[in-house]
């Protein structure tokens, strides 16, 4: 095992290979507060990549209702139960990662789903839990009253457990963009990666005898276009881009701004130690203890910053960029109330006003002498 630095843990940790960061790292921010669980992302991915034989059960993108939803079943709580997760001292993780907890004979500590665990992708959908202070009181529901939707893809981790688990080196991280891929020519279907990935984002294909995973739509990324699940997102909750190390954060990079500068977007289960690169704006109405377990010690501050977005012109502007263009927007700027998504060279790809102008259309159109019915 090598010693590597994981900034999400605020410390060094053990990993199977030495630290080797790509030239630039694919990353994404998902705003959980805007997701409506329409599953358009799931379908966009499914029809594009996993409509073949043996891929029927695969969901490279899935959306689960937290706290009860999970796909495969209980993938999160099973591993959390196994992990001696310890606690955080400020922003430093004092527990052990899945690499540091690897039992004798294993490269990582992993939980292997049984095949029936893949049979309930919608389990727990829209089931509520927990109590919201001051909210929903009058409804006196028989159950508790919070839930939120967690959209998940592969995190294209800086320290992928799938890659570390493969005894054949069939999984690689592309040096040009940090996208993690299974070499379909080299894979022999041992399913070590399926066991190793704590997010369960590698799937075994029983027809081709190989493991397959989310490819971050790399053919689109190579053309400067965001992946399918991003551009088809109805709730406009997603933004893809590039993330720097915290010390290299650039204020004109939208992902760096959201993650490193505004600190509003957080990794999922940072305690596992993979430095995952999909960052979540945590839900604002969920008990903090739950958010902390999922998103780490930054959860409270992130919620506060999000609630305050209306008073933070830059943050409000950044949030308007989500879903505004099909193109990857490696840079951004704000001029007054307008936010601009820019390409590498600073040319404008899209301009979005912070406040959309409001047009009121009269019910009776004098020009065409017709009455129109507006839906409420």
């Amino acid at each position: 095992m090598a010693r590597v630095y994981n900034w999400q843990l605020g410390r060094e940790m053990s990993y199977w290979y030495p630290e080797s960061r790509p030239k630039r790292q694919f990353a994404a921010v998902f705003d959980t507060n805007k997701c409506i669980a329409c599953q358009t992302c799931t379908l966009a991915c499914k029809t594009t990549w996993t409509s073949g034989k043996g891929q029927e059960y695969m969901l490279w993108n899935n959306v689960e209702t937290k706290p009860y939803g999970s796909y495969p079943l209980a993938y999160d709580v099973k591993l959390l139960d196994m992990l001696d997760s310890g606690s955080w001292s400020g922003n430093k993780y004092e527990g052990r990662t899945i690499f540091e907890s690897a039992p004798a004979g294993e490269r990582v500590m992993g939980w292997r789903p049984e095949q029936q665990d893949y049979a309930y992708p919608n389990c727990g959908e829209d089931d509520c839990a927990g109590q919201v202070d001051g909210g929903a009181g009058m409804m006196s529901l028989p159950h508790m009253s919070w839930f939120f939707y967690l959209a998940r893809i592969c995190n294209h981790c800086t320290y992928p457990a799938c890659l570390a688990s493969c005894p054949r080196g069939s999984i690689y991280k592309r040096p040009e963009d940090g996208i993690v891929l299974v070499d379909q020519g080299r894979c022999r279907g041992y399913q070590e990666c399926v066991r190793g990935c704590p997010y369960k984002k590698v799937f075994f294909n029983p027809m081709t005898n190989t493991s397959e995973k989310c490819i971050a739509c790399y053919p689109k990324i190579e053309q400067g276009i965001q992946p399918q699940c991003f551009v088809n997102c109805i709730g406009k909750i997603r933004m893809a881009g590039w993330i720097s190390k915290p010390e290299d954060a650039k204020p004109d990079n939208p992902i760096d701004s959201l993650v490193h500068i505004k600190k509003i977007a957080l990794p999922l289960f940072p305690q596992y130690g993979l430095e995952p690169n999909v960052y979540y704006i945590p839900p604002i109405h969920v008990p903090l203890s739950f958010s902390r377990q999922l998103f780490g010690p930054g959860a409270a501050a992130a919620v506060q910053a999000y609630r305050n977005a209306k008073n933070d012109a830059d943050l409000a502007a950044l949030l308007c960029l989500f879903g505004s263009s099909e193109k990857l927007m490696p840079r951004w700027k704000r001029i007054g109330d307008d936010v601009y998504g820019l390409d590498e060279k600073g040319a404008t790809l899209v301009r979005v006003p912070r406040n959309e102008p409001v047009f009121i259309r009269p019910a009776y159109d004098k020009l065409y002498q017709i009455t129109r019915t507006n839906c409420p």
Binding site: G52, G105, P167, R188, V194
Partner: protein, 280 residues
């Protein structure tokens, strides 16, 4: 009285079925014919080697607890091909691939070069390759006629539609191309990915993690369930330089699917001497 007669007959029959000669190395006897049928009479005269299996506990990921204890090996050759019959106890038939479902299998490993000091038994070493012939239960099922469909593995699977099965594409080349595109491992020619036409795969390795497909196919084989396990015949071309009155080394491995054995998680032997006998 009748019972006595029956008992006597049974004793006589048992007497006919001679216990095999046991040798402490694998001895390959000459046979005019090579058959991949484990119940063929060609195996009757061949001595048997009982190979003890050890857990692969040297390279991560490993198994720490032993599963399959031993494999019974017989061998025959005809000067061109050498065949091995491997028999072992395995009460469960694991021939269905799937997530978290693993497959019964076995393998025969021989150094590529015939030399007094064989390479590292852990699948060879840099510059000193080993040749491996690998048999697997699901490939056998495919060769025996199991269909290349998801319903053959999950009988109750319901699939509304595969895009390549659109009516407008029926019977066209575009359809075949599209179906292949949705099976990436097949599209890039991964031998492992099927559809299979042989239950045996030829491989070479120069150490753990280096296993790759051999250039050309040189093995064939067949496996069948027995009352208490598997009997598998793997026949391959006699290695270069190996022939009557020559010796080399051989190693075996067995995977027990229901113990989730796959890849490096296997039971294996170290090198065992292999003596090739001349025809009498």
């Amino acid at each position: 009285m009748r019972r006595l007669v029956l008992l006597a007959a049974a004793a006589l029959l048992a007497g006919c079925h001679r216990a095999p000669t046991r040798t402490n190395e694998v001895v390959s006897t000459a046979s005019r014919e090579i058959s991949t049928d484990a119940s063929s009479s060609i195996w009757d005269a061949a001595p048997e080697h009982l190979a003890n299996l050890l857990p692969q506990d040297l390279v991560d990921p490993r198994i720490l607890k032993p599963t399959t204890a031993e494999v019974r090996v017989r061998s025959v050759h005809n000067g061109g091909e050498i065949a091995f019959r491997l028999e072992w106890i395995d009460r469960t038939n694991d021939d269905m691939p799937g997530p978290a479902r693993f497959l019964d299998g076995c393998a025969v490993q021989i150094p590529r070069g015939i030399e007094p000091n064989p390479p590292d038994p852990r699948m060879g070493q840099g510059g000193r390759p080993v040749e491996i012939a690998f048999w697997r239960a699901d490939w056998q099922a495919a060769v025996n006629g199991r269909k290349d469909t998801i319903q053959a593995i999950y009988p109750n699977a319901a699939v509304d539609h595969y895009p390549f099965q659109a009516k407008s594409l029926e019977g066209t080349d575009a359809q075949k191309q599209m179906e292949t595109r949705y099976a990436p491992a097949r599209a890039v020619g991964n031998h492992r990915a099927g559809p299979r036409d042989s239950p045996v795969e030829d491989l070479v390795a120069e150490g753990p993690g280096t296993l790759s497909p051999a250039g050309a196919r040189q093995s064939r084989g067949k496996g069948a369930r027995t009352n208490d396990g598997w009997a598998v015949v793997i026949a391959r071309k006699l290695p270069e330089g190996l022939g009557p009155n020559k010796r080399t080394q051989i190693a075996f491995a067995v995977w027990e699917g229901s113990s989730k054995e796959t890849g490096a998680r296997k039971m294996r032997t170290g090198w065992i001497p292999l003596a090739v006998r001349a025809a009498r």
